[in-house]
Symmetry: C2
Subunit: 237 residues, 2 copies
């Protein structure tokens, strides 16, 4: 039987190997979790035509043979339905809890981290994406990009506060999935990997030492260091 | 076989029927979830002697026949081990996710709600508890009680922001446990019931309408309206 070809459209910077999209990372880790082979296609914010077949304009988009799935949460569920081995969410009860974790990632982690790295993102994206990025983000924040983070130290303290539930839970757990990672881990991981890949400083919230750091390193080392080896703006520093 | 007597030491106000402790509510709802009969003993912050048998000074404390268990998270796990029917957390994977939700309740919800109701709590607790409460909370906040909330409208906006993950998750779910409630629901519920019981205003964060409100009402109505019928400072208003 010929192997199904699987392709993920994956946000890239000017350097096509710089991959920093949080939901794309959540899905790439989920594919690795299930042991599914895939290749990625570098995609930029303004490459709307390249994924117009999906009927929308955001990544990740997964092509699994002739099937198309988009939206990270939909893809995660599609993967569990299609490849039930090594579930990302073992039951509908687990899926409900993970839905909350995902909502926390999007509504608490995202706004706390974004101001710290928004200038780094602008600097690493493709030139053709810059006007789009500036306009859409300035509209979202209601201010010029360079005013979004007036005080990095203060914003790092905000992030530290936001991450407290994660630190407390991980002080008692190996993974948010318990003894093995599940989709909650990958969703949270994606948001931190985002910062790790684009940051020109060492991305270091106040308590970067401790359980979050230990857990993050465990995830970086999974799957033969798949996420650890990805190119970063800072290189190996 | 004689029925085991179960007793919960439950924080009360000056009015012994006014019960507002979030972890006590989480445990009382958990007992109802399992269909376990229990009685409660009203306890005040300074009644340290009454629970000294537990080797610590906080409630809830559960006496289950001759067994003593304290700390809400320990009690929840004890209940699942001892009464495996109608689990509060169906598996170790669910338990791990719920541990995160509990950490979010304690580290994000708690500090966002507390300033809005700290004066209400002070006013409804027993006279003998007031010095203890004022001193311990002024120490925690590093300021006099009446300065903890300088701007209620601003604090309500902070709470609204903190509750966004909950609102988003509940827009797609009946309960954090999925189609039926689990311990995640009861832990979050306890923090809102705290405010509902003591608040002299109608406790109404900016988006109190919507999925959180609908979910909260579902929980209030469970178990023959057990949590709905509890006395409040506002009465039936």
């Amino acid at each position: 039987m010929p192997q199904t070809k699987r392709t993920i459209y994956d946000l890239a910077g000017a350097n096509p190997d710089l991959r920093f999209s949080p939901p794309c990372w959540a899905i790439k880790m989920s594919m690795k979790h299930k042991g599914l082979e895939f290749e990625t296609i570098p995609w930029r914010f303004t490459d709307k035509d390249a994924i117009s077949f999906s009927g929308q304009g955001r990544v990740p988009v997964l092509l699994d043979g002739d099937r198309e799935v988009h939206d990270s949460w939909q893809i995660a569920q599609y993967l569990d339905e299609t490849y039930p081995d090594k579930p990302l969410m073992k039951s509908s009860t687990v899926q409900a809890s993970v839905r909350f974790v995902k909502a926390w990632v999007d509504n608490a982690m995202q706004p706390a981290i974004m101001p710290l790295i928004i200038a780094d993102i602008y600097d690493c994206i493709h030139e053709k994406d810059r006007d789009y990025f500036r306009e859409s983000r300035e509209k979202r924040f209601g201010m010029p990009l360079d005013q979004v983070c007036k005080d990095k130290q203060k914003q790092a303290a905000v992030l530290n506060e936001v991450l407290k539930p994660l630190a407390e839970a991980l002080s008692e757990l190996d993974f948010l999935g318990g003894s093995t990672p599940n989709y909650a881990d990958y969703a949270v991981f994606g948001r931190l990997q985002w910062a790790r890949v684009v940051s020109r400083e060492t991305f270091a919230p106040t308590d970067w030492e401790g359980p979050i750091s230990e857990w993050f390193n465990r995830l970086l080392n999974l799957y033969d260091g798949f996420a650890k080896q990805t190119p970063r703006v800072l290189g190996d520093k």
